[in-house]
């Protein structure tokens, strides 16, 4: 494994950008389906966090482990999740990976290394660590596991216990903190007192990396370095990216509590727009080509949404209502 990471190429950048664009358009669709009452529960978007998220997913290989969190649509797509399964899960389609039993961001395909988050924040860190631990026991080499968390999530006991245990085992784990300045409505000043979340790295004995979450190139470079470090045996890597959530906590929330000064600051930049400008400036694509990209993803998203909306919902009569895999251990209750 090279100690210094290979440079991010134009092709890498464009590939990442196009996934970001797909993610953004897909999420806009999710928001509109939510407003139309077609998605129940909630919709939680990653607007403004696509550069960071895609940089995580894009550096993982088949065979790696990824446990994305709330705002990781871009990273999920980069890791191999599809528009189809995203829509199926949000709409609760029978054919989706969660078969309507769970929804929205709580989706994955654990057998493919794509873990399905539970809501309880921090919980995926030890789970990915355990997955990596198992791979090591099985003799697999060169595997990486990555998982994301928010500034708020760093306050959970699970974050602490999981990262510490991973550090003790020197597992190839990458923990990415999307420091988007708020946990729901709670600003960082009410969430932690350290000068920078990166200051936590030394306390766990893990390598720390800082990224500008609004800058795709910086995110790609940082994640490439972190993932390669982990893959090369450098133990857990803690990546802290500063950015701003450019949307409410969920689509039910207008996020009006967000400090206008933050919005006006560099943190408030939209990584997608910034990356688009970069591409145009660098003349890696023309405005026309870019328009084609956008049309392509819009077509994909819209046609997939139409398809999924015609798919059958889960049928309660068909469901086996089984929480256990072994049929002989399922309980019978004298209840209706």
């Amino acid at each position: 494994m090279p100690k210094t990471s290979a440079a991010v190429t134009q092709a890498d950048y464009i590939k990442a950008y196009r996934i970001m664009l797909l993610s953004r358009v897909l999420e806009e669709k999710l928001a509109s389906l939510y407003r139309a009452g077609m998605i129940k529960g909630g919709v939680f978007l990653g607007r403004g966090q696509e550069a960071l998220s895609v940089s995580v997913g894009i550096h993982l290989h088949r065979g790696d482990i990824f446990a994305p969190l709330i705002r990781d649509q871009a990273g999920r797509l980069a890791f191999g999740d599809t528009v189809l399964d995203t829509l199926r899960t949000y709409l609760g389609s029978q054919l989706g990976s969660m078969r309507g039993r769970d929804g929205n961001i709580h989706r994955g395909r654990p057998r493919d290394g794509y873990y399905a988050m539970i809501s309880h924040l921090g919980a995926m860190i030890p789970a990915v660590s355990g997955g990596l631990f198992a791979r090591r026991l099985k003799g697999e080499r060169g595997v990486v596991g990555a998982t994301c968390i928010g500034d708020g999530g760093t306050s959970t006991g699970a974050f602490h216990e999981g990262l510490n245990a991973a550090a003790v085992e020197k597992l190839p784990l990458v923990v990415v903190i999307a420091n988007n300045q708020y946990a729901y409505s709670t600003p960082n000043s009410r969430q932690y007192a350290c000068a920078d979340l990166l200051d936590k790295a030394a306390g766990y004995g893990v390598v720390g990396h800082k990224a500008d979450g609004t800058n795709l190139l910086d995110c790609l470079q940082t994640l490439r370095r972190a993932v390669q470090n982990a893959r090369g045996g450098g133990g857990p890597q803690l990546v802290v990216a500063d950015l701003l959530r450019l949307v409410g906590h969920g689509e039910h929330d207008d996020g009006q509590y967000v400090d206008p000064k933050l919005k006006a600051s560099p943190l408030g930049g939209d990584c997608l727009v910034i990356a688009e400008h970069h591409i145009l400036e660098q003349k890696w694509a023309t405005a026309e080509e870019h328009a084609v990209w956008r049309r392509e993803v819009e077509t994909e998203v819209n046609s997939t949404a139409d398809r999924v909306r015609r798919e059958p919902p889960p049928d309660p009569e068909e469901d086996d209502w089984a929480a256990l895999s072994c049929p002989e251990y399922r309980e019978q209750y004298a209840t209706s």
Binding site: G42, G100, R101, T186, P314, T335
Partner: protein, 320 residues
């Protein structure tokens, strides 16, 4: 009209206004007013009494316990009941044991936005009353009406012991009342929500309303169901239940929780043990299915009991 949710807000407002020992602590409850707006405007109205907490349920409850030891009356909001598993250790092993071990009571109230709603899914829908009721040292209440949401929360704050306040999210904006009562039944007393001679339904929380609807359906068929709203599941008002079963001879227990060891099994166990002779036929129960709470609305509405499944069970009970 006052909603169930607004009643919870008003009870906290009254507690803050009348008792300087009261303060509120929880995620996003200060200027934001809470995920459900149960503390809306309270931080403005009571400066320095309503605090946003870190994303740390264990620390939230632990802090509340320490504050209670020092004579305060914290009301803690969990963002969803489901996340209280992360603070469960402090609740069941610290708050609940404090009085027994040290003689110092632990007057905290932990508000749990509980129960299922459409699209809530496995981690935003749980009913955790049985979990907490199993542990000694806790009072566990499950208000089912606007009036109870108001008076029981206020009463819970006045109580010297830790109270797990299971408020039902489905009822938040669904239930409305003209006005709020000044007094009511004390915590620990159940209420006859409907009188009837043919069978007794014992229930609580959102299931009260499904049961009432089932009773209306059955009334059209000529059966009169009596309905006991437990109000608090620990202590459990066995006397009121037994008195009703003595009148009807038939018992149906209905709860949105999972069946194993839930309120329905505790109620049936008590009636069977203490009122065996009152039962004309086998008691029955209707619970949620024994799986996580599903996300899709169609699955969810079959997972939990509804007026129609309750009515169906009641019919079987009445004909048995």
């Amino acid at each position: 009209m006052i909603t169930y949710l607004e009643a919870i807000r008003l009870a906290q407002q009254k507690a803050l206004a009348t008792d300087p020992r009261v303060f509120l602590y929880g995620q996003d409850i200060a200027s934001f007013g809470g995920a459900f707006k149960a503390t809306k405007n309270l931080s403005k109205e009571f400066p320095g009494r309503v605090f946003d907490a870190t994303l740390s349920e264990d620390a939230i409850v632990g802090m509340a316990i320490g504050a209670a030891i020092e004579g305060m009356r914290p009301i803690v909001e969990m963002q969803f009941a489901d996340f209280s598993t992360c603070g469960l250790n402090q609740i069941v092993n610290h708050a609940a044991t404090l009085y027994y071990r040290t003689g110092v009571p632990c007057p905290i109230v932990v508000r749990l936005p509980s129960g299922g709603t459409s699209g809530g899914g496995p981690f935003h829908s749980q009913s955790m009353e049985a979990l907490y009721a199993h542990y000694p040292g806790l009072v566990v209440v499950t208000p089912a009406t606007v009036e109870d949401a108001y008076t029981m929360l206020f009463d819970a704050v006045a109580l010297d012991d830790p109270v797990i306040f299971c408020e039902h999210k489905f009822l938040y904006n669904h239930l409305k009342a003209e006005s709020l009562p000044e007094t009511s039944l004390p915590i620990g007393k159940a209420r006859l929500a409907r009188t009837g001679r043919d069978a007794t339904i014992v229930t609580h929380g959102a299931m009260l309303h499904e049961s009432l609807a089932a009773a209306t359906e059955l009334a059209e068929e000529g059966f009169e169901l009596e309905i006991v709203d437990l109000r608090s599941v620990k202590p459990l008002d066995t006397d009121t239940i037994l008195a009703s079963v003595a009148r009807t001879g038939r018992l149906l227990c209905v709860s949105e929780e999972w069946p194993w060891g839930g309120v329905t099994s505790e109620v049936i166990a008590r009636v069977s043990a203490e009122g065996f002779g009152l039962l004309d036929v086998a008691p029955m129960r209707v619970n949620a299915k024994d799986t996580p709470v599903p996300y899709h609305p169609d699955l969810w509405s079959v997972h939990r009991p509804t007026a129609s499944t309750i009515a169906a069970a009641a019919r079987r009970l009445l004909l048995s």
